[in-house]
Amino acid sequence: MAEVTLVEAARLAALQEMRRDPRVWVLGEDVARGGLFGQYRGFIEEFGAARIVSTPISESTIMGAGLGAALVGTRPIIEMRIFDFVMCAMDELVNQIAKIRYMFGGQARPAVVVRMPHGMWRNSAAQHSQMLESWFAHLPGVVVAVPATPADTAGLLVSAIRSDDPVLFFDPKNLFPLKGEVGEAIEPIPFGEARRMREGTDLTIVTWSAMVPAVEEAALTLAARGISADVLDLRTLWPWDERAVLASVARTGRLLVAHEAVTVAGFGAEVVSRVVERLGPARLRRAARLGQPRVPVPFAPVLEDALKPDAAKVVAAAEALLRD
């Protein structure tokens, strides 16, 4: 077990899988230089230019070529640099990758991993800070991974690379420096299993990705105030661990979903709705969501901070949920 940063954990996972399987390769901008965040540092030396392909600024083709290469039996890791740039490759992702297995009646298996570092990060403003993971939970044909710790990032990336499904892998770029333990041999973590961050009895908090540290902090504050939160990090949004959430809310009767993405039509809505449908309103005393207002991400720190969901807002939302 070594203590490494989240971005290094991701690097180690990709490294392990590329050593294990010669069909795995990487394509994206600047990947031969290690990638924008160093997530492929040293790969070009070990795997060469045939497997570490630094590409032109051609997002449509990065995505579409990854798909084509998967159709002949390789297993590409498609690196999108920053999530927002995937908007330049949506036809390839939404109309092609997500549908090709179905549309062709199972003839094709687009076994790609699409890596998309997402979320707010160092005041990068509206075009470099988006979190639209809920879009892809709504899109049939893809797995949606939203890890938040070094170990989960590593384990889920291993699963993603080994999966025959296309996996949309949302690297939490603001958490890249976060440290944690990662094993020598990285074991795959199954999709659809939440991680219980904390056991509690008063309310259930469900979260994922960049919000996880804020929720962790909030849970401590709440504990200090005598409020015991049961906290789940979903880790993947499709599939997602409905069972764990239902079991928790069945006990606590109160549900708060906290995510960095915009609240309106965010994945929090799915979680709340599902709980209402499955448990029935009677077994739920209160439910609420915390996310960004429906506003693009601004540049100035004072503005970004005003919108960004943080620990204090989680605490306030949790306390409000208990006041009735």
């Binding site: 069909r23 390769w25 394509l27 045939a50 497997r51 392909v53 590409t55 032109p56 051609s58 449509s60 083709t61 995505m63 579409g64 070529a65 990854g66 798909l67 084509g68 290469a69 998967a70 159709l71 002949v72 039996g73 390789t74 590409p76 036809d91 390839e92 109309n95 092609q96 090709i100 297995r101 179905y102 549309m103 062709f104 009646g105 199972g106 003839q107 094709a108 049939p140 044909g141 893809v142 797995v143 999966s163 025959d164 499904d165 296309p166 999709f191 659809g192 499709w238 599939p239």
Partner: protein, 328 residues
């Protein structure tokens, strides 16, 4: 090209493929009119020379990508007719289990990686397939078919630049029928055309009369050899004519008077037939080929019509392994 008997066999094969494409699509049109085929149907009647001439030069392990007008490409690459016809009719035995239909016809077993409902959608897939094949150590190549309308979409530039950069084994084939849906190509395409665009992206381009199947065959033979030999990508610019409307329900009323009639005289099957007759092939040999093709397709239609629909449960399959499909 080969000489003598070999050459004659090759020409007859070419003729046979074109007749089969024509017969398949005329049968499909009739089936569509009869209400047997739902959804949009784009036929390539008049353009058969390109698909047939190019694919004659491909190996079984070579791959192709196609566009919305893909029956000809699929047949020329060897796709099974029964599975194609069942697919068009939405039957269980279709290559795509009835999930794709005409616009998504595909037969991976013969390297036909799929038609595409998005114009230019096949271009990045083709370059990636070529890159993947190289990584796997194969010397198979990829042939990418698209229309003149596709050259105004971004993926054309990105894909050709990419293929040239990595010297990928891709043969791009632009089937230039002069129209995109209901709009004439010259009214939406600036500059000197697809070949100049390709050359400016580092992809050598060769023009050919796409209605002259022999010329297509010859040009494709040369280009396929160059591509397979490691010379990097090439583009074949094949001019042709779409004798029918954009879809089966488009009367193409916007064509000028006499335009289609004039084009009919230049259509590729007639032309190859004339050539073969000149070469001394007996008319009845050619009639037999045509007749066989028609019979094959009629039988396929009848068989498809008698074939079972997919079980409703099939609708929930082939989505993804992970995660329930959350039945409604």
């Amino acid at each position: 090209m080969n000489a003598g008997g070999d050459n004659r066999a090759r020409l007859l094969a070419l003729y046979g493929t074109m007749c089969r494409i024509r017969a398949f699509e005329e049968t499909a049109l009739a089936a569509h009119r009869a209400g047997e085929i739902p959804g949009p149907l784009h036929v390539s009647i008049g353009q058969e020379g390109v698909a047939a001439g190019v694919c004659l030069n491909l190996r079984p392990d070579d791959r192709i990508t196609s566009n919305h007008r893909g029956h000809g490409h699929a047949l020329a690459k060897g796709a099974g007719v029964a599975g194609m016809m069942e697919e068009l009719l939405g039957r269980a035995g279709g290559h795509c289990r009835g999930k794709g239909g005409s616009m998504h016809i595909a037969d991976f077993s013969v390297g036909m990686l799929g038609a595409n409902g998005v114009v230019a959608g096949g271009i990045p897939i083709a370059v990636g397939a070529a890159q993947g094949l190289r990584l796997l150590g194969s010397d198979a190549i990829v042939c990418c078919f698209f229309g003149d309308g596709a050259i105004n979409r971004g993926p054309f530039l990105e894909g050709l630049n990419w293929a040239a950069l990595y010297r990928l084994p891709v043969l791009f084939v632009c089937e230039d029928n002069g129209v995109a849906a209901f709009t004439r190509a010259e009214s939406v395409t600036a500059g000197p055309g697809v070949a100049a665009r390709a050359e400016a992206l580092g992809v050598p381009a060769v023009p050919v009369d796409g209605n002259d199947a022999l010329a297509v065959d010859a040009a494709a033979a040369r280009l396929v050899a160059e591509v397979r030999g490691g010379g990097g990508p090439r583009l074949l610019h094949a001019t042709t004519f779409r004798l029918m409307g954009h879809t089966s329900t488009d009367p193409a009323a916007w064509r000028e008077v006499g335009e289609v009639e004039a084009a009919r005289a230049e259509e590729p099957i007639l032309r190859l037939r004339a050539h073969l007759l000149e070469q001394g092939v007996a008319p009845r040999t050619l009639d037999a080929i045509e007749g066989d093709a028609r019979a094959e397709m009629s039988q396929a239609r009848a068989a498809a019509l008698a074939a079972p629909w997919p079980d409703a449960a099939v609708a929930w399959e082939d989505v993804q392994d992970s995660g329930a499909v959350e039945a409604a």
